[in-house]
Symmetry: none
Subunit: 413 residues, 2 copies
């Protein structure tokens, strides 16, 4: 096909929901005013999507891997490398990455505060970061980045590393940190490095002036880091390798940026994009249009506000986030409708009632100006059930988008 289109994926995180008594039995998507989504639903093709498979509740990371066309049962590296990549620490194949907390231990390595008081200035973070980043344990290099509050990301880089190791964080106070143990024989080196690193980091942090200052101010010193979510950055085909496409992520949250980078996307920042309802929807639309008009073949836009509202049991804010995203997509469509194939969907259902991810499928609409319409008239989890795409899986989204956009070679002659 000579007439190639740009493939656009818009994900509203956790957008799916269940009927809410306070909305008269409607879901937030049904209750929201969404003239743009409804137009796309009417002119396009609709589906219910089990992002992983029926009955399985997706995490945001596994869900996005599936939406990008990677089977999370094979390709999920754990949260560590995905979130780390999103912070700006560039992991490479072979690295093992962790999420970390600054923590407070006593002299016997007993945990006193798993978050070391939670509050840190950027200056404090910088000093602590410098004391850890660049460390070498045996032949393994340590890279570390302090991110938000007590949180950080850490990479081990060296030969023969494995993420099959046990936890050091006892997840309670008053207990000594756990010894890291290999869960498989090939992880012995990595467990040894982690144990040595725990001691070495404690040695380097405990006497820093910044910690003495904290103690003077009644704050717990950050004399250790706790590690969680270890994952190995595996050797995987990028989207470029697979499809020959250039791809971009427009997102605020580190996990989404990181997961997109893991499969080879470039991150483009929209000024003012955050994970909350106050995110700058207008700038996200402008950045998406710029990327569509530019050299990218595939443009992924992530909106987090829907999920945050759901976790907060806040139906009104979820509706507002949906309506603002509708308006944002309208701006994009107005500018580039003849150049795109677009899908609007969620990565999972987050129930406003339970405040948690649940297994219910999410609606998806696939639209382009040449696509066959179906009989659906509105965009919602209920209406989508009558769509001509019937039930699809997350793994179908990338082939559908790229197939209709003309980026997949014919199979056979």
């Amino acid at each position: 096909m000579s007439d190639k289109r740009k493939a656009v994926l818009v994900v509203m995180d956790g957008v799916g929901d269940r009927p809410l008594p306070k909305l008269g039995g409607k879901t937030p998507l049904q209750a929201a005013k969404t003239p743009v989504f409804d137009r796309l639903a009417k002119e396009g093709q609709n589906a219910l999507m089990n992002v992983i498979s029926p009955g399985i509740t997706p995490g945001s990371d596994t869900a996005h891997l599936a939406l990008f066309g990677y089977d999370p049962h094979q390709d999920y590296p754990g949260r560590g490398p995905l979130e780390t990549l999103g912070t700006g620490l560039e992991t490479k194949p072979g690295d093992v990455a962790f999420r970390t907390n600054f923590a407070t231990l006593d002299k016997d390595m007993v945990v006193l505060d798993r978050r070391a008081g939670r509050v840190f200035s950027r200056e404090e973070q910088d000093v602590l970061q410098s004391a850890i980043d660049g460390l070498e344990i045996d032949d393994v290099q340590v890279n570390f980045l302090a991110t938000v509050e007590h949180r950080g990301a850490l990479i081990l880089r060296g030969k023969g590393l494995s993420a099959e190791i046990s936890d050091v964080d006892p997840h309670e106070t008053g207990v000594k940190i756990w010894e890291c143990k290999p869960l498989k024989p090939e992880a012995k080196k990595t467990a040894d490095v982690v144990n040595k690193m725990m001691v070495e980091v404690n040695k380097r942090l405990k006497d820093l002036d910044v910690n003495k200052e904290r103690e003077k101010r009644g704050l717990p010193p950050a004399n250790a880091i706790l590690l969680r979510g270890p994952g190995r950055h595996n050797e995987i085909q990028t989207l470029k390798d697979r499809y020959g496409i250039s791809s971009v992520v427009i997102a605020g949250g580190a996990l989404y940026i990181g997961t997109a980078k893991y499969v080879g996307m470039v991150h483009e920042k929209a000024e003012g994009q955050t994970g909350t309802i106050d995110t700058n929807f207008h700038n996200i639309a402008l950045k998406a249009i710029e990327c569509i008009e530019g050299n990218y073949d595939y443009i992924f836009v992530h909106i987090k506000a829907t999920d945050n509202a759901s976790h907060d049991h806040n139906a009104e804010e979820k509706i507002l986030a949906i309506e603002r995203t509708d308006e944002m997509v309208g701006k994009i469509i107005d500018e580039v409708s003849g150049k795109i194939v677009i899908a609007i969907t969620g990565d999972h259902t987050t129930s406003v009632s339970t405040g948690e991810h649940v297994c219910d499928p999410v609606p998806l609409v696939l639209w382009s100006d040449f696509i066959r319409p179906d009989s659906v008239e509105k965009y919602s989890e209920i209406d989508a059930a009558m769509g001509s795409l019937h039930t699809i899986r997350g793994l179908d989204v990338m082939p559908l988008l790229l197939g209709y956009a003309g980026h997949i070679e014919k199979f056979g002659a």
Copy 2:
């Protein structure tokens, strides 16, 4: 089930389409008058079918393998053996087959004309064919058939052959033919044989009287053959092996006949069946009825005219081809309705707008006089979305047909 039926598959090549402005937003299937198909849709079960999988544009060869129940990701041997079998050259498991062109080389093996003037009389073809067919290179036997114009089919038969070889055709004139190289170590023998054959064929053809005559008439001599689409005829289970059924193909085009023969079908010729709108639909109906009344369990009828019209951007002719096929199926149903389970579908969507295969699914109707109806009233890509079969894949068609026809054993007790 004691009451076994005949399973009938009718494929209109490339029949699916997209809404066309010139048809008021209808597809050719929607615009065509199809009383028979509509009756079957109303009385039977309807589906949208992704012949390979969502978003993947099928070739005709891979699509038909899937419709016959063979996963093309495993069983597709390349176009060479499939088309060769369709010409009447009988490949066997282990053979490597090619499509060929007569070509004109200069004395240094530089390509002067990739089609040697394109025009050949049957007499010329016979002489050239005799000079190549039966050749032996080392312990490998060469079989060759001149087919239409400059085209032909060639088989290498011998031990340890592989299709993992590079091209000899430089695809431009003024360039020496390329040396054939093994793409995998085990293909070295085959590449050597091809290189020796190129020299030997040139030696045998260049001084033939038929070529001297061509030169006198100002036509390029056919002093070489160029090879393309190499494929190895693999050892696969036939339909007889799998299901114990006898099966027949009624088709005009070599590729469809060949693909059907590859899985074990017999070819029965309907007088006047061609690949165009002028094909003899009446004779195809008579031949299908004869086969249904005869000893075949599975009858595959292929209509090519729908695809040709699509590639030619000719919506009117596509509609005409659909309407004539509708009438043809009506004749078959009138005669044998109580004896069959029938599916009417396409192998892929060929867009009249783009003139190319595209990834959009195709409609399928499954009918027998005992089957449960669904709510669909018309046969089209739009109406089929509401069918009770929902979305199926090409690989589902053979089990559905043979299952309802009573040719698949119960699984378990």
